[in-house]
């Protein structure tokens, strides 16, 4: 059994933040390269084109039929290997993707590379060869630092992602996109996650709906009294 995603492969909303952060850090560092790495079915490039149109330098897309239904660890193995191949010294990812949302891929990439993982960053700064972040915690944030190389995962909403300009969209068409297979990376994978059932979740029935005609507070108070909150 497989859980298929109906939607087209586009740049994940969450990842637009990562791309934006990478572009800003590269600009601040005086023009470092920003390389997009993506694993996608059927050489799908639409997602990385959006990032290239925002200003990234180039992209690497890994497609392979053997990756169908890949779990997070498998995904991380592919991405870590690609990061190594392009010689990255900082890997930026979103904290979690919108659909799979395991939130483990960035730290798995870091572990595979034997790098530190600075996760759940809501702010990030480069200080020479070190990176400093504000890491979300249950009740506030911690300032966390490490020297490079490192993996940083950024939370959504940290920055306002730029819209690709017309010029950006046009120039993205000619930017290099390298297409790789698992063999190119020298990897072989075994998918060990198995979906055994997919069912509809228990739906919550809609209750009573009232229009506020200037006295809806009475309805609310009656309800609160009925459930003994008041």
């Amino acid at each position: 059994m497989r859980l298929t995603r109906a939607a087209k492969a586009i740049l994940d909303d969450s990842d637009a933040y990562g791309v934006e952060i990478a572009l800003r850090l590269a600009e601040a560092a005086g023009g470092a390269e920003v390389i997009l790495v993506s694993m996608a079915p059927n050489q799908e490039v639409q997602g990385v084109r959006t990032g290239l149109a925002m200003g990234a330098t180039s992209a690497v897309v890994i497609s392979d039929p053997a990756l169908a239904g890949a779990d997070a660890l498998t995904t991380a193995k592919v991405l870590a290997s690609a990061a190594q191949r392009v010689g990255a010294d900082l890997v930026i990812a979103a904290t979690e993707s919108t659909d799979g949302y395991t939130g483990t891929v960035p730290a798995q990439i870091a572990a595979l590379l034997d790098w530190p993982a600075l996760t759940f960053a809501k702010q990030i700064e480069l200080r020479g060869a070190a990176v400093s972040i504000q890491r979300q915690t249950e009740d506030g944030y911690d300032v966390v630092e490490a020297d490079l190389p490192a993996v940083v995962s950024v939370t959504a909403g940290v920055v306002e992602p730029r819209y690709p300009s017309f010029k950006g969209i046009m120039s993205a068409k000619s930017k290099p996109v390298e297409q790789l297979t698992l063999a190119d990376l020298g990897l072989s994978v075994e998918i060990r996650e198995q979906v055994v059932a997919v069912e509809d979740a228990e739906a919550r029935a809609a209750g009573q709906i009232v229009e506020d005609d200037g006295s809806a507070e009475t309805e609310i108070i009656n309800y609160l009294a009925q459930i003994k909150v008041l």
């Binding site: 859980l3 979740a201 809609a206 009573q208 709906i209 309805e219 909150v229």
Partner: protein, 323 residues
């Protein structure tokens, strides 16, 4: 029944976090022996608490010395998994839980199942239920690996003390800090102060969204929560807009709440928000759009302008409770 299961009992404010007791409750339903890994807490206190939830052994890592816990705790847990011969490892779907699980999965070369809301044993295999696509579908999955690595969403399982408490022995273990990956250091910690009960433990939660109109109007949410002795929450839209701190966020990437009453004010009801509050016993929603998805799941849905209704509601409740 499994024979051995390991849980990560992460700390919160000097004691084990409430979610650790949920993990212990779940683990003892799956496994004869439950070993808990603890750090940065008083080991004897933690052993007493965890023992009453059926934990049979404790491994205390002592202090993580300001290192981000992911690397050193996962390194230590790998040792524990092999020493006790664990068939399953349970952590919370929290910041620390995910960091630890991710690194452990690489160390053991074992995949992970995340966001589980229920875990059960079926013929020796561990099957996890996960709510996907905004909570519309339940997917049950399993993994073929010698050790099952699972992250459980907080508040999915009610913690229940064991009928017969265990008396776990505490073994000290040290955290390694010499791997190359263990370079992330916590330089300082900042707590965003908030008033009233804790969001994820409150019986009543009053949450506001972009429909409040302005950051300034969030004070209505605070007043209402104050009158009802509840906690204040928020949608991500207003957290991102900087109206309230992240600690207020309810939803997929925020807190999961399970109160008796959830009041959603000016919140559209995006699936990522609903996944964090659908478990509330009673839901009241105020929204000016009669087609807002939140009204589909509300027990009482009020179609109206929150900015006009809230002052009247607050005044009426005030009169009623004599405040």
């Amino acid at each position: 029944m499994l024979t051995n299961c390991v849980i990560l009992a992460e700390p919160q404010g000097g004691a084990v976090a409430p979610v650790a007791l949920e993990l212990a409750t779940l683990a003892r339903s799956l496994s004869e022996q439950v070993t808990a890994v603890i750090y940065d807490v008083d080991a004897q206190e933690a052993a007493k608490t965890l023992g009453s939830y059926g934990v049979t052994a404790i491994i205390s890592l002592g202090s993580t010395d300001s290192h981000l816990p992911g690397v050193p705790v996962a390194d230590a847990m790998r040792e524990v998994v092999s020493t006790v011969g664990a068939q399953a490892v349970l952590v919370a779907q929290s910041y620390t839980g995910r960091d630890v699980l991710a690194r452990l999965s690489v160390l053991l070369d074992a995949p992970v199942l995340t966001n589980a809301v229920m875990v059960r044993e079926v013929d020796g295999a561990v099957v996890a239920d996960n709510l996907v696509f905004g909570g519309e579908k339940v997917v049950s999955s399993k993994i073929t690996a010698p050790v099952q690595l699972l992250a459980i969403r907080p508040k999915s399982i009610a913690s229940e003390a064991a009928a017969v408490p265990a008396n776990p022995a505490v073994t000290d273990a040290s955290v390694s800090s010499n791997t190359k990956a263990n370079r992330a250091v916590i330089v300082s910690s900042h707590v965003e102060e908030r008033q009233g009960p804790k969001l994820d433990e409150a019986e009543i939660v009053v949450s506001g969204g972009r429909g409040l109109g302005s950051a300034e109007n969030y004070r209505y949410v605070e007043e209402l929560a104050g009158l009802l002795h509840g906690a204040t929450g928020a949608s991500r839209a207003i957290v991102d807009a900087g109206w309230v701190p992240y600690a207020y966020q309810v939803g997929q990437t925020g807190k999961t709440v399970k109160p008796n009453l959830y009041l959603a004010i000016g919140i559209s009801g995006a699936t990522q928000h609903m996944v964090g509050m659908k478990g509330a016993k009673n839901i009241i929603a105020i929204n000016k759009d009669k087609d807002a998805p939140i009204l589909q799941i509300a027990d009482l849905g009020v179609v109206g302008d929150a900015q006009k209704l809230l002052p009247r509601l607050i005044e009426a409740i005030r009169q009623r409770v004599g405040a």
